[in-house]
């Protein structure tokens, strides 16, 4: 019997939701386990870095890597897995676009350390101790990985072959990707393994979208409750549907909340936030520039909203460093 294809799962700066998504395959996970030989999955299996280092280069058929790259250790793992794997799939929003951890690109390492270890009122840290990459405790050396200023998406660190979008990716897309890889029925390299259609095109509320949306007031869910049937944009809520790829089964919309863009942009669009801004500008009611500006000023935190999941993979990439 020929060897089963070797598969690796790894996580970088992530929350574990992508691992949970794999477990949410429920019975289907047993099919996967049957068909492949899992050689790395820190959440579940007893394989260490040295085990992966000892494997021949390109001996892993596919590595699924989730999480953004925030620490030196994650960068090292990404390079190691690239070397050992024939295919690398960026799994989930953080690996694909930077994700929520990528919002840290609005700040710096120094600011994060200042907040976490010096400023918060619950701290009792009179000596100003900070975690150090190298320290001695009771005469012993202890080390920590370096913490970078900038969060990166996976393809800003290594070459990536495919992308599985979503926070977290839904089970049918995961199974679809695994099946395609096992059968060798692969689309062109670089493909995002989800439909190339906008959320708005498949939205359950699309029939309520007027021919011409005219927004004259920006609403917030904090101080109003959305109508559960109507197009969010038509109601005046910022909804990233026009600039976001579909394939998520409109889960947030079913929860009566607008889209925040976790699936990222469609093919051919690099900057999801800029794409949304241009779409959004076209549905604003005012024609006068000053009025448009006044309306846009009503949007709280436009950058953090339009780039909620994609800041590292945008033209902005990060706040300018001083």
């Amino acid at each position: 019997m020929p060897d089963k294809p070797k598969v690796a799962f790894y996580w970088c700066a992530s929350c574990g939701g992508c691992e949970e998504a794999i477990v949410d395959l429920a019975e289907d996970i047993l099919q996967v386990v049957e068909a492949v030989d899992i050689v790395l999955w820190p959440v579940a299996l007893d394989f260490k870095r040295a085990d992966v280092e000892a494997m021949p280069d390109r001996s892993i058929a596919v590595a699924f890597i989730n999480g953004a790259v925030r620490l030196s250790e994650q960068e090292e793992w990404a390079h190691l897995l690239r070397r050992k794997s024939q295919l690398v799939v960026a799994f989930g929003s953080c690996a694909h676009l930077g994700g929520i951890p990528g919002l840290a690109n609005f700040t710096t390492r120094a600011e994060i350390f200042a907040t976490s270890y010096h400023d918060l009122p619950s701290l009792d840290n009179p000596d100003g101790v900070e975690p150090l990459e190298r320290t001695r405790a009771n005469g012993e050396d202890l080390t920590l990985p370096a913490f970078f200023d900038t969060v990166r998406a996976l393809d800003q660190v290594i070459e990536v072959d495919y992308y599985l979008p979503g926070c977290a990716p839904p089970p049918d897309l995961i199974m679809g990707a695994v099946t395609a890889i096992l059968k060798g029925e692969l689309p062109p390299r670089g493909t995002v393994l989800a439909p190339n259609k906008a959320q708005c095109d498949v939205c359950p509320r699309k029939d309520t979208k007027p021919d011409r949306i005219e927004i004259s007031e920006i609403k917030r869910v904090a101080t109003s409750t959305p109508d559960p049937e109507k197009c969010f944009l038509a109601q005046g809520y910022v909804c990233l549907g026009p600039a976001t790829r579909s394939g998520c089964h409109e889960r947030c919309l079913h929860g009566n909340m607008p889209c925040r863009g976790c699936f990222g942009p469609m093919d051919g669009v690099y900057d999801q936030g800029a794409k949304f801004l241009s779409a959004f500008a076209s549905v604003l009611a005012p024609r006068d520039e000053a009025e448009i500006e006044a309306l846009l000023d009503q949007i709280p935190d436009p950058a953090g909203t339009f780039y909620r999941f994609s800041l590292p993979k945008s033209l902005l990439h990060r706040r300018r460093m001083a």
Partner: protein, 494 residues
């Protein structure tokens, strides 16, 4: 002066990254042990400037295994921030949702992570000491039950809140949508099965663990014992609660030493920083930080299932209460200090959660369309506190008048237990490693010390299939590897 270092890197079957360093002295006894957390993402900083109502969606990305806990703590903080009290049905739907989550999370821990050490055995062959071994022991039918119970609970959660991983329904003053009649029917059909499944799990624990005297001795062993303070939420009747309540703290003798509203947490808790880990170490201000030691003079406290049972006068539901009484009778009274008893307490909580879900399913309130009161006042400051599966979880926000965040402080469940986990690792290692002898069974016994806390590394709880995750490299004084011990091939490689 240590002569050998045993490194476990990375620790696997955890939610997140971790590393254990054990230092042996010349006699081969454990001089020191550290569990390091090489992980930091900076949420408290990068959430500044975001609209506060986005926090129930942003903060679940701290942990995709317990996103519901962050979602709910954030939502509770928003109620207070916007000075709005949800209508009864708003609270009821959140409570229902939250207890569904506690039920599925806790039972999965038993079968997938904590359970194998007992059901299969602490020194069983490593390859069997996992969920597949559990299924082998208890039968495929029960394995199917585990998958089915989890799947249905999470499907109902997704229907209620958009998604089970990173839900989106919490808003200041309530939730984003009511339940449909169809969904309530589905819940009514499923809920009795959840109670049966939780009760069945406790019976399995009784049969496999409590009837085995060796296991009971292991639970009671001194190297798995720490006499610490305990913290947890209690309801008006001072019973265990997860969604809302007041904070009670008891000392190692079980005496109440603090009882406060969540918003007053800063008067009681502070955080210590060490240079060798990115995690912080909270402690009780009154006794103060005395280092990684237990006892009444040390501010180290514990949270999570056993802590919650230790601080409460009882369980909030009748069937769980019977087990609560039995547990403390077996362990020699309250508070119980045996770290491994967290597993038992976790199952008792799963039963309470299932009983609460069942009660909610029969409450006509859950069909009410009146699920939200929209805020009318300007936002200022709010503290939200819930009991996550892994312990007390605090979200504290301040905003400007426009609801833009100017301050965020998060005290996450596992962080409260950070110091106790350090102590547990060290004491277990000192208890089981002698004369430099390290083997698979001993390594597992070290690992059992932190696994009992389920340290928000709960992906492991939900992992299929599992193998035990330890490889130890034994170095000599020069740093050269003299031996590698892996669970699958003990001592086979040098």
């Amino acid at each position: 002066m240590t002569t050998r270092r045993v490194t476990i890197d990375p620790i696997t079957r955890l939610e997140g990254h971790g590393r254990i360093e054990i230092f042996l002295d010349e006699a081969g006894e454990v001089a020191n042990a550290y569990l390091q957390v090489p992980e930091l993402r900076g949420f408290e900083r990068f959430c500044l400037g975001r609209p506060a109502e986005e926090m129930p969606h942003i903060t679940p990305r701290i942990c995709g295994v317990c996103p519901t806990a962050h979602h709910m703590a954030a939502t509770r903080a928003l109620d207070e921030l916007w000075h709005v009290e949800p209508p009864p049905a708003g609270h009821k739907l959140r409570e229902l949702f939250y207890n569904l989550f506690m039920f599925e999370d806790h039972t999965l821990h038993f079968y997938f992570l904590g359970g194998p050490d007992f059901i299969v055995g602490p020194s069983a062959p490593a390859a069997e000491r996992n969920v597949l071994g559990v299924i082998g022991k208890v039968g495929l039918e029960i394995g199917g039950k585990v998958i089915a119970a989890r799947k249905e609970a999470r499907a109902i959660m997704a229907e209620m809140a958009g998604k089970a991983i990173h839900p989106v329904f919490g808003l200041p003053g309530g939730v984003s949508k009511p339940m449909t009649a169809e969904l309530v029917d589905r819940l009514k059909r499923a809920a009795p099965g959840f109670v049966d499944f939780a009760a069945f799990s406790l019976q399995a624990f009784a049969d496999v663990v409590l009837k085995n005297q060796a296991y009971v001795q292991t639970i009671l062993a001194e190297h798995y014992t720490h006499r610490t303070y305990y913290m947890g939420l209690v309801d008006e009747a001072r019973k265990v609660t997860f969604y809302r309540g007041r904070v009670r703290v008891v000392d190692p003798a079980g005496q109440q030493v603090a009882f406060f509203e969540p918003r007053d947490y800063l008067a009681h808790i502070a955080e210590h920083v060490e240079p060798w880990s990115y995690i912080k170490f909270p402690f009780l201000k009154k006794p103060g930080w005395k280092g990684f030691v237990d006892g009444v003079d040390s501010g180290v406290y514990r949270v999570a299932p056993l802590a919650r049972l230790n601080v409460a006068d009882g369980m909030a539901t009748p069937r769980a209460q019977e087990h609560y009484e039995q547990m403390f009778a077996t362990l020699g009274g309250r508070p119980a200090h045996s770290t491994l008893a967290f597993h038992w307490a976790r199952l008792i909580e799963a039963l309470q959660a299932a009983e609460v879900v069942l009660a909610c399913s029969q409450d006509p309130e859950i069909l009410s369309p009146d699920v939200r009161r929209v805020p009318t006042e300007a936002p200022t400051e709010g503290v939200g506190m819930v009991e996550a599966p892994r312990g007390t979880l605090i979200h504290h926000y301040k905003t400007d008048r426009n609801g833009i965040l100017t301050f965020v402080n998060l005290l996450v469940a596992t962080v409260h237990n950070a110091a106790p986990i350090q102590m547990a690792i060290k004491k277990a290692a000192q208890g089981v490693i002698h004369r430099g002898h390290v083997d698979d069974g001993l390594l597992n016994q070290v690992e059992m010390a932190f696994r009992a806390f389920d340290p928000c590394h709960a992906c492991a709880t939900h992992s299929l299939p599992g193998d035990m995750p330890l490889v130890a490299r034994v170095h000599d004084a020069s740093g050269a590897v003299v031996r590698v011990v892996a669970r699958a091939d003990i001592g086979a490689r040098a």
